[in-house]
């Protein structure tokens, strides 16, 4: 399967009891592998953090929490303006973090539902056009992010196919629900609405769904295919309903692959740049973290750009740790599963 790179089982066990390695080959290959990974992955990773801490820990934290002057301190106009500017910048950074998390909170559940349905349809049944369907599900993997953004402009832009409808659509930002107190009756209100679709956070959601589309489906299909339908058939023959079979048999069997797909989907949703850049219109309120990083860099704020980048890198490291934990658990569960399916 083309989804193999995101197959769940990549956990390194102990070294296999292969024939004794050729000492020269071993040294040469390990040296090559280690230097390649060092140059292409470790050095960039370290570099992100070195640049983020270029102004020390205080400088790092000031990107999120700008320094507060002591109340009695007298500030010049220039200093006041600098502090106000730092507060505005920090506000934008927090906004970008919030938007990134919100977008992921919408995109990931959508793709989980789709991934489960698509994997069920393509692995438990055989029908004409199945191979084509699998290829189409893979398609967003290899569509250029720029094209992914462009298609939504062509569809929903003012002159697009649904442009007339889309530009006149007004919608409420569900994440802007705030407590406003009882003086006007109901205490909750939405503080923000948008008109239009393209160049608003809604377009960011659509572009993110597009680029993260295949991750869950493709991490499930190889496993579900190899598991076959025996267990489901057994459950059904014992009188279980379809839904019950799905939730009690199928989902538990693929839970680790599902989680792995979710993690990759989340990572991509956090990190997508090209597609969301095209549909963001460069408006500050549409900035996700990667877009925010570009803006900070363009404002000559190198250190702040890398600080936000390091947060994304930390999220990446976190997802990698989560992934390692999942693989470890999955490897532990594996013998049990195998016994199960051979019944």
């Amino acid at each position: 399967m083309a989804g193999a790179p995101i197959a769940a089982k990549t956990a390194l066990g102990p070294i296999k009891p292969a024939p004794p390695p050729h000492p020269v080959a071993r040294t040469v290959l390990v040296t090559l592998a280690v230097s390649f990974l060092t140059i292409f992955i470790l050095v960039p990773l370290v570099n992100v953090f070195v640049q983020a801490f270029a102004k020390g820990l205080d400088g790092y934290l000031a990107v999120f929490w700008p320094p507060q002057p002591a109340p009695e301190q007298v500030l010049s106009v220039v200093q006041q303006r600098k502090l106000a500017e730092a507060a505005v910048q920090a506000g934008r950074t927090w906004h970008a973090i919030g938007l990134t998390l919100s977008v992921a909170a919408i995109v990931v559940p959508l793709n989980i539902c789709f991934g489960l349905a698509a994997a069920w349809a393509t692995t438990k049944f055989n029908f004409r056009g199945r191979a084509l369907l699998i290829s189409l599900i893979d398609l967003p993997f290899s569509v250029s992010p720029v094209v992914a953004g462009l298609v939504f402009v062509l569809l929903l832009g003012r002159n697009g196919i649904f442009g007339d409808w889309a530009t006149h659509l007004t919608w409420i930002d569900p994440f802007s629900l705030r407590w406003v107190g009882f003086e006007a009756g109901f205490p909750l209100a939405f503080e923000r609405d948008y008109s239009g679709v393209i160049f608003t956070p809604l377009a960011i959601v659509l572009a993110s769904v597009f680029v993260t589309f295949p991750f869950v489906a493709r991490s499930l299909t190889p496993l579900m295919e190899s598991q076959g339908t025996d267990e489901e058939l057994a459950a059904l023959s014992l009188g279980a309903s379809g839904w019950r079979t799905f939730f009690k048999i199928t989902v538990p069997n693929v839970k680790w692959a599902l989680l792995y797909g979710v993690i990759l989907c989340t990572a991509r949703a956090f990190g997508e740049f090209g597609a969301v850049s095209v549909v963001s219109g460069h408006v500050d309120v549409n900035d996700t973290m990667p877009l925010r990083i570009e803006k900070l860099w363009n404002e000559y704020n190198n250190q702040a750009a890398f600080t936000v980048a390091s947060v994304l890198a930390l999220l990446a490291v976190f997802t990698l740790v989560a992934k390692a934990a999942i693989e470890w658990k999955a490897a532990r569960d594996l013998p049990q599963n195998q016994g199960h399916s051979s019944q």
Binding site: A84, T170, W171, S195, D284
Partner: protein, 362 residues
């Protein structure tokens, strides 16, 4: 307030996506879509305007910003970015939005000075001490000099740089814009200009082509990107860019890193502003949008404009910052090139002169 009530009703409904009119924001938001280097300027102007508007009317207004290459920004507005006002690098991009039916014709006369609240020009930024001795346009042609500019196809500032280069090599006629007499003379000359032999100037063409082909190592998409390339990535010997952008780079990176060099002549740039009629009418924001753009002409805003190294229209502000905005003779796009439509079509359109520079040999 009814809008507030509506918001609350929406809150009760907890509707995630409501159709038009179901929700209203608790405050007015204006979206100003602008070109790259004005980010710092409009951030300050926006805050000052909000304070003034609140004092005058009691309403809260937030000006949101979008910055990018001028052409890209115009396209975003045409594609559906709901900009209340546009403040772009050149008139051509506003005309493009006008042609799409979003801005009414005659926008040039809606605000003073052809709807252009400040002027600027193109100058050079060189490394401290000017190690390559770059003094004027002809020095850019010296062997080994690397010139940094953005791509004129995507950057308004780079289009001005291109026209400045071409005009200087073609020895375009200049005027003294610090005097009323000079300004009147320039205006009369622009009105009188009928044909524009400058487009066929073989010498200018050869020199500009040589610069882009042999001296430009990197072409960024936007004016700001080219500054980053020069200042942060430290590529190149001289940066061609907006005067205000050069000053900003000097302020940001330290006066010990760069020098600003003014060539003997340059182009007078007039970045326009306009209200996007269709959007403000749809959103009901015309009044505040017009007030926002008018605010740019107040002495208070003109002073901020001068402080940030744009050339104010206001004479008092211009004189106040004259030390940092030295007087050099300017040529104009109207007199030299017959306006943006012609310059755009000849130089930058698909298959135009700029594209011909980069035709691969085979």
């Amino acid at each position: 307030m009814s809008s507030r009530l509506k918001t609350r009703l929406a809150g009760v409904a907890l509707g995630l996506i409501a159709l038009a009119g179901a929700a209203a924001a608790a405050e007015v938001r204006l979206l100003n879509v602008s070109y790259d280097p004005t980010r710092e300027l409009y951030a300050v102007i926006g805050q000052n305007f909000a304070a003034k508007w609140k004092a005058q009317t009691g309403d809260k207004v937030t000006v949101e910003l979008s910055n990018g290459g001028s052409g890209k920004q115009a396209r975003s507005v045409i594609d559906g970015l709901n900009a209340d006002v546009v403040t772009l690098a050149l008139g051509w991009d506003v005309t493009a939005i006008e042609k799409a039916g979003l801005i009414n014709s005659g926008w040039q006369n809606k605000f003073p000075n052809h709807a252009s609240p400040y002027t600027s020009t193109i100058a050079f930024l060189v490394r401290k001490g000017n190690p390559k001795g770059i003094k004027d346009w002809s020095d850019l042609l010296r062997p080994g000099v690397e010139v940094i500019t953005a791509n004129p196809k995507t950057s308004g500032g780079a289009r001005w740089s291109f026209l400045s280069l071409w005009g200087a090599f073609a020895k375009a006629r200049t005027h003294d814009f610090t005097t009323a007499a000079g300004q009147a003379e320039a205006k009369a000359a622009a009105d009188a200009a009928k044909d524009f032999p400058i487009y066929n100037d073989a010498e200018a063409r050869g020199k500009v082509s040589e610069i882009f082909n042999k001296h430009v190592p990197v072409l960024d998409a936007g004016a700001r990107g080219s500054t980053v390339t020069f200042a942060q990535k430290q590529i190149g010997d001289v940066l061609l860019n907006w005067e205000n952008e050069l000053w900003l780079a000097k302020d940001e990176f330290g006066a010990d890193k760069f020098d600003i060099v003014y060539p003997s002549t340059s182009i007078l740039t007039e970045p326009p502003v306009a209200v996007v009629d269709k959007v403000v009418d749809q959103r009901g924001t015309r009044k505040v949008a017009e007030a926002y753009l008018s605010y740019l002409y107040t002495p208070e805003a003109q002073d901020v404009i001068g402080q940030l190294h744009y050339r104010p229209r206001d004479v008092a502000a211009l004189n106040k910052y004259s030390a940092e905005l030295p007087k050099i003779p300017f040529f104009t796009i109207d007199e030299t090139y017959g306006g943006w439509a012609k310059a755009q079509a000849t130089f930058f359109a698909d298959g135009g002169i700029f594209d011909q520079f980069y035709k691969p040999a085979n």
